[in-house]
Every structure is written in C-alpha cells, then in structure tokens.
C-alpha cells in the first residue's frame, strides 16, 4: 500500500516539535498573565500566544492523523486534509544525523571559547568540521584550519579592532 511508506517515514518530531512549542507558548502566556500588573502588560502576549496554541494544535493533530495506522486512517479518510506539508519523510536521516553532529560540534566550539580562546577553538572547530563532512586527509584539514583561523582572527582583532579572547595569537 502506498500509505505504509509515508507513515513509516514520518518522524515523531513532526508531533513533538509543535507540542513543545504549545507548552512553551502556554507557560509563557500564563507566566506573563500571573505577573501582569495591568492589562497593558499582557495585552499582546496572551491573545497572540492563544492564537499560536490553536495553530500549533491544528498542526500537531494533522501530523497525528498522518501517523495513524492505515486501517484507522481509511475509516477517517473523509476527515483528512491535505496539509501540503514540506516536512521531512524520514529518508534524509543520514543527512539529518550529520547536521545534528555538526550542531553539537558548533555548541562545543562556542562553549569552549572562554577556556581556550577564539584562535585555538576556531582551529579545532574547522579541522573537526571538515573531518565530520568526510574530508579524510588530516593534513589538508589542519592546513585549512590553521590558515583560516589565523586570517579570520587577525581580521577581527587587527582590522576591526575587536577584543577577541585569544590563547596563542
């Protein structure tokens, strides 16, 4: 059946992401409303958050319907709507995993800056980022990381006069 493939391919994130946003919108709206001293403090936030929750609920329900088993879906066939949804089908999992690893690398890079400086952390980040993307020659990666980090840090420090924290340069 043509449905099976697409159902297997739908990642749970399609439901989780809007649900997390719903929780954030509700918590934020409630927090503002309880702390507000007068109407102007919540006038924009609360109604806007409420509209957002409705829109997100609609999105989450749409994704949930897509995940229902085929038999149930057939019985609800008449209620389904076309979502024109460009959300992922799950086929791009390796690429998504690579992107996630890259995000982790960027996070480590940013949080390491206060400890090892912009110069060293940038060099390490560039080398590892190339390795992560499949560039296997360490020599090439080190040459690229070394030259690029020196040029970029020098531009910011000497040309733009930004006081970047550096360890070596």
């Amino acid at each position: 059946m043509p449905y099976n493939k697409s159902i297997k391919g739908i990642p749970a994130g399609r439901i989780l992401f809007p649900v997390i946003l719903i929780v954030i919108f509700i918590l934020y709206g409630v927090d503002i409303y309880t702390k507000a001293r007068n109407i102007t403090d919540w006038l924009l936030i609360v109604p806007v958050a409420a509209i957002g929750v409705v829109a997100l609920t609609f999105i989450a329900l749409g994704a949930l319907r897509d995940m229902l088993p085929p038999l149930k879906r057939q019985s609800h066939g008449a209620d389904r709507a076309d979502h024109e949804d460009p959300a992922p089908s799950g086929k791009d999992a390796p690429q998504a995993l690579l992107a996630v690893l890259f995000m982790v690398l960027l996070t480590v890079y940013v949080f390491s800056i206060p400890y090892i400086g912009f110069d060293v952390s940038t060099f390490l980040f560039l080398c590892l980022a190339l390795r992560l993307q499949g560039e296997n020659s360490w020599l090439k990666n080190i040459i690229f990381g070394f030259s690029s980090s020196i040029v970029v840090v020098m531009i910011f420090v000497n040309l733009l006069g930004v006081r970047l924290y550096t360890l070596v340069l």
Binding site: L44, G52, A55, A78, L130, S148
Partner: protein, 511 residues
C-alpha cells in the same frame, strides 16, 4: 514629487563621504560570491556581514548591505545559467532559459543578458522608489497607532501566509517571533521570560538571533550536501560574447521595463519578494511573447524578464521598509536589523525627517547598480571557478564568521550562544516546514506591534473597538488586509476539500 533641496543634500552627503563608496565594491563582490555559490544565499551573506557595519556610519552601513543585496541578485543567476542550479531562490526562473542557452554554448551571451537586466532592473526599481517615496511618505504620515498596528499585523500575516508552508505553520512561526521579541524588560518595566538570567534583561539580541535563524540554520541544512557538476567548457568566457548579450538585452527596452516595473510592485508587498517577482515576470513575458514555444529552450526574453524583475524587487521592498518600517523578506529584515543597530527607526517619520538621507540611499544604490556593471563583468570571468567552490569548506568558515560577528555585537558570549540556540531552533523549524522568515519578521515587528497596541488602548480610553470604528483609514486598511489574505485562504481551503474528496474516493475503491 521629488524634493530638489533634499536631492542636493543627498548629493552632498554622498560626495562628502568617501567611505560610503569604499564599502560598495567589497559589498558587491561579497554578494556576487555568496549568490554564485549554490546553497549559500543573499540573506546568509547579509546576516553574516551585518556585525561589520557596526563600525560604519549609517549611510555606508546601509550602502554596504544593499551592495551585497544587489550583487547577490546577479550572483544567483550565475549558477542558474551555468549549472541549472539557482544560486538563490530568486533565480529559479533565470535557469529556465539561461541554462538551455548555456547548453547551446551561449553562456557568455546569457551572462551578459543577465548582468544588464540585473543592473537596469535595480536602476529602474530605485528610480521608481525615488519618484514615489515623497508621495508614500505623505500618506504614511497620516497613519496613527491603530493604523500602524494593522500595518504591522498585515506585514506579519502576509509573510506568514504567502510562503511554501501551510497557513497554520506560517501563523505559528510569526507568533513565535512576536513572543521572542517580548522577552526582557518591557517598556512598562515588567521583566518577562528571562528565566532569571541577567543576560536576557535586554531581551534576545536581535542581530545574533537573525544570523542564527537565517544563516546558521540554513548552513546546518547544507551539511553533507554537494553540488556535483561536470562542465569544463563553461570556464571559458569570451568578453565579446558578454558584450553581445548586453547589446541584445538593451535592444529590448520595453521588455526590460515591464519586468522591472513588475518586480518593483511585487517586491513592495511584504512576504512576496524577489522569488515570486522572478517567476511572475517570466510567466507574463511568456504569455505576451509572439513565440511562447521558445521559452524554456533558450529564449532571451525569458531570461531578461526573470533577471530584471528579481533585481528591481529590491527597490520595491525598500519602499515598504523605509515608509512603514516593515521588512518584506529576509534581505530587508537584515536591513531593518542594521537600522536598529544604528538606532534608526524606519517608518512614517523616518522619510519625512530624513528625506536627504533617504535620497542619498536611493542615489547611492543607483550608482551601485552602475558599478555592478563593471564588477559583475570582471566576476563573470571567475564565475566558472567560483560556482565549484567546496561547500564543505564554506560552511564551517561562514559559521566561524557568524560566531565572531555575534561576539562583536554583544561584547560577550551571549551573541555566539544566541546563534547556536536560534540556529538549532531554525533548523528544526525548516525541517518541520515552519517558515523561518515569518519568525524573524515577527521578532523585528513584535515590539512595534506591542507599542502601537498599548498606545491605541490608552488613546481609546479602554474602548478600542469603538475607537477603531471611528477611524476610517484603519477600517480601510483592515478591509485591504482581509482582501489580500482571503484569496490565499480560499485557495488553501479549496485544495483541502479537493484532497479530502480525492482521498474519500480512493478509500471507497479499496477492497
């Protein structure tokens, strides 16, 4: 129509400020470079280089960023013509006829047509802006708080609704941006959404967030992707062919003017922008052509219309930005970020109080377009090599520039951390089909919307509905807002109904 006094002051500003001219060629080259590399976009370039403008005065800063904008407009056409890969989303229709021309060995001619169309499109777009800006400013000054509130909501709604995603996702993304904009101390002194962190007292830093949403999230998306191309012959470009292409473009002034005017008008509508202008102008050119069957097979008119329209849309989007303070898309959102960085607020009063500066911006951009003719011509010779630059190397390098740029803006680690957080959120949004541009515009316009809403409430004495009913301009704007939104809403509902019927019929046929 044009204030001569302000025009003289604009010329004095431009001639007396050499820095304003020094930054333009690098801006054009950056734009051409980023536009020419498939995957990287104009908004990434503008967002990444935005922090550098912190060290410039307002006029050079905006000219630098608009130079990137202008350069990127033509830069995107280069891989579209040479490789059939639109360098940016606004060059999709450029590939329809540009690539067939390249396949026929006419790539030099196609690039020449593209360059002249882009230059003239930009010129015409800014010329129309110059002619209309005073009139627009005159009308916009009549807008009070309720009208500005409607305009702000309208802007966000259009961007939320007119995108490739579903309407509900567009609205949710826009609202997410509005809520982000309210974090930190409010105008009334209430601390909101700071999680007790002193770093968030001033709210989420807008520029790093903008870099994260536009640049970092898109770069995460590109990790692991490569554009494989085999076309050694395309590296050979003859100057004679480029000039020949330019001459052919100039021989069709009416078609150039039609594409450019269409691009300007479409560009002025928030949420529509260069991508739609590019496609719409191509469609109209095909419809009006005596030889529509030639379109898609290397028709010069198709390339000319597509390129002139996407370039002129820049001028159109500047009308909305300058007059209303509303960004129409990613590029103008970055420009609005630059306005904020220099403590300049676009909107009704801006044009009236700074007419000279606005004219200087327009004239500077017109001169910039002419300069692009020279810079772009030189760039074409390197284009065959630049389009093949490795994304593997560009992605981490651009991210490093973004992180350092964000540090430059905030002076502490809040900027880089904001890039990481908004980059990850932006990636998730793109992955699950939420339009990131709507969030950024919501973030930029949210503050204005809240201010105008509170002012409207205070002026109305609590009876906001009665107050709005007494303001005819607000009612007209509300009606226009509904009129502009309803067609898309109806088309969406119609598609849903059709899909439902189709699915119902297919389930009936199942055993």
């Amino acid at each position: 129509m044009i204030s001569i006094e302000a025009l003289q002051s604009a010329v004095a500003m431009l001639t007396g400020n050499p820095v304003a001219w020094l930054v333009v060629p690098p801006g054009l080259i950056i734009g051409l470079f980023f536009g020419a590399i498939p995957g990287l976009s104009i908004s990434i370039a503008m967002a990444v280089f935005l922090p550098i403008t912190l060290y410039m005065d307002f006029l050079p800063a905006i000219l630098f960023l608009t130079a990137i904008f202008t350069g990127g407009g033509f830069g995107g056409a280069i891989p579209a013509i040479l490789l059939n890969i639109p360098g940016t989303s606004s060059s999709v229709a450029t590939a329809f006829d540009g690539y067939p021309m390249a396949r026929q060995g006419r790539h030099g001619e196609a690039l020449g047509i593209g360059l002249v169309s882009s230059v003239l499109g930009t010129l015409i777009g800014y010329m129309l802006l110059l002619l209309s800006v005073q009139t627009v400013a005159h009308w916009v000054l009549k807008l009070g708080p309720t009208e500005m509130l409607v305009v702000a909501i309208w802007g966000i709604m259009l961007i939320a609704i007119l995108n490739d995603s579903t309407i509900s996702k567009g609205i949710a993304a826009g609202i997410f941006g509005i809520l982000i904009s309210t974090i930190g101390y409010s105008d009334a002194g209430l601390m909101r959404g700071t999680f007790g962190s002193m770093y968030l007292l001033d709210g989420i830093p807008v520029i790093p967030a903008l870099i994260g949403f536009f640049a970092a999230s898109e770069l995460f998306n590109l990790v692991g992707k490569q554009y494989i191309v085999e076309d050694r012959e395309l590296r050979v470009v003859k100057f004679r062919n480029i000039v020949d292409g330019m001459r052919q473009a100039l021989s069709k002034p009416l078609e150039l003017a039609r594409g450019s005017v269409m691009g300007t008008v479409i560009g002025a509508i928030p949420g529509v922008g260069a991508s739609i202008a590019n496609l719409a102008a191509y469609a109209v050119a095909k419809q009006r052509s005596d030889n529509p069957e030639q379109f898609g097979k290397g028709a010069r008119s198709g390339l000319l219309a597509a390129e002139s329209a996407n370039s002129s849309s820049e001028g159109g989007s500047m009308i909305t930005l300058l007059a209303l303070g509303l960004p129409g898309g990613a590029g103008t959102a970055v420009l609005l970020g630059a306005f904020a960085m220099h403590n300049v607020t676009g909107g009704p009063r801006f044009i009236a109080e700074n007419t000279g500066l606005v004219y200087a911006l327009i004239l500077g951009n017109m001169a910039q377009a002419l300069l692009m003719l020279v810079v772009g011509c030189g760039f074409i010779f390197l284009a065959g090599y630049i389009v093949k630059l490795s994304l593997k190397h560009m992605i981490p390098l651009v991210l490093v520039l973004s992180v350092m740029g964000a540090y430059t803006i905030t002076g502490n680690m809040v900027g880089p951390i904001t890039i990481v957080v908004t980059g990850i959120i932006g990636w998730l949004m793109r992955r699950y089909g939420f339009p990131v541009a709507a969030t950024v515009v919501g973030m930029l316009v949210g503050g204005i919307a809240e201010g105008e809403l509170v002012r409207s409430l205070q002026l109305s004495g609590g009876n906001i509905i009665g107050f709005v009913a007494d303001r005819p301009i607000t009612l007209v704007l509300l009606a226009l807002m509904l009129l502009s939104i309803l067609p898309r809403l109806f088309s969406y509902l119609r598609k849903r109904r059709q899909a439902r019927t189709k699915r119902f019929n297919s389930t009936q046929e199942l055993p």
